[in-house]
Assembly symmetry: C2
Homo-oligomer: 213 residues x 2
DNA sequence: GATTTAAATGGACGATTGTCCATTTTGCAA
DNA sequence: TTGCAAAATGGACAATCGTCCATTTAAATC
């Protein structure tokens, strides 16, 4: 059993991580100082060094945590849907563009870290991990779809569809970043499905996945 | 005629801007300090205040300059191509993914500024401008294509194609950011054209624009 | 209840930040 | 060539940065 001592310890640890994410979302990375973090976490100055050994490690940990949250969100959605390739894809697309995942806070955080990725190995590393996992999931779904669609070179088509779909979703996030208030989720979703229905007319239409007869 | 005095003045001004961009590309925004900038520009400490009134203004100006450079590059390419809609689109796609525009330095800079966009009004503002201009150019091209393709609701199709194409290009930039060494320009280009040829089979194939008979 | 020890505190510290201005340099006009 | 003014210099400055540790607090154990 976890003693009260360890429980408090972990709560404080988490408070620091969440304070970093809140600050990054609201003020950006360059204004996320130690003073800012400990003020938000309502903890004392020494805690960062105690728990993480330094500010940089804490920030890396916060980035990792945030990435994990995103991925858990997508995974949870996949549990709730059917098993066909097009259902998986539909769920990923809708999930990635849903309010729960694509919102001002997450976008601010994600782009702030992306901006640092080139210069911080730790951040670049799991930014990759997220992509690799998701990419694999999407590819497997498209591989099934491409096979069913009997296209020439189904492997290449599946790879292109994966790459193209993820790229388009990335671009929608950028759109949201730059115009969070005028961004239209339904329009963004429809555009992705327009792409998919052009490529696989038997599997998708503008509204999402089709069930094959 | 520009006197030698003014000429030196403007050269120094530009040196500061380029020093900022070099530093942002190499070290990131958070490590781009006044000391770093003036060291790179080989100028004295007071110059930033003299020319720009402060560091923040200089950084904003550098971001504006960088955005202008991007846009000029795309525009220059458009001068060299034909006048059909699909030729314009092809040139924008190829240009946006070309070594001259999509390279490590530009990507580092662009994402660094994007990461700050949410928290710096000046940077967000022209980040928008770039998008609005380019978007308009692309939309006009797709509007012609959609009309020729005789689709239902050509206006909506053109809007979706514009949105989808730009989103996909954005996503390719992100890909390049995260995997600059394994990124394959030809593959990225082919995927965009796969999307376009699915939507407008009479205007595009996997290799780019088709000329209508 | 007394003792032990892990956890948390908060201030001291040197380094670095961006700003600003008294001084020096230098191009240009008289 | 001299005098003027614009431009550039570089160090002083207060503010803030992140680190670290001597001290205090409080949970766990005896």
């Amino acid at each position: 059993m976890t003693g009260r001592r360890q429980e408090i310890r972990e709560r404080n640890r988490l408070s620091l991580i969440e304070a970093v994410l809140d600050s990054v979302a609201e003020k950006g990375i360059s204004e996320t100082s130690v003073s800012e973090i400990i003020h938000r976490a309502e903890l004392s100055r020494g805690m960062i060094h105690l728990h993480f050994g330094g500010k940089d490690n804490l920030v890396d940990e916060a980035a990792r945590y945030s990435s994990e949250q995103y991925y858990n969100g997508i995974y949870a959605l996949l549990e709730t849907t059917g098993q066909t390739g097009q259902e998986h894809i539909e769920m990923i697309v809708r999930g990635d563009l849903s309010e729960a995942i694509l919102n001002k806070k997450n976008v601010s955080i994600w782009y702030a870290f992306r901006g640092e990725a080139r210069n911080r190995a730790a951040i670049a590393a799991f930014s990759d991990t997220r992509d690799a996992k998701l990419r694999n999931l999407v590819f497997n779904a498209f591989a099934r779809i491409a096979k069913e669609a009997k296209v020439d070179d189904p492997n290449q088509v599946a790879r292109d569809a994966t790459h193209g779909t993820l790229a388009m979703l990335e671009g929608m996030w950028t759109d949201y970043l730059l115009h969070p208030d005028s961004f239209d989720r339904n329009e963004a979703t429809r555009i992705v499905f327009r792409f998919l229905s052009s490529m696989f007319p038997a599997h998708f239409d503008l509204d999402g996945a089709l069930s094959l007869e």
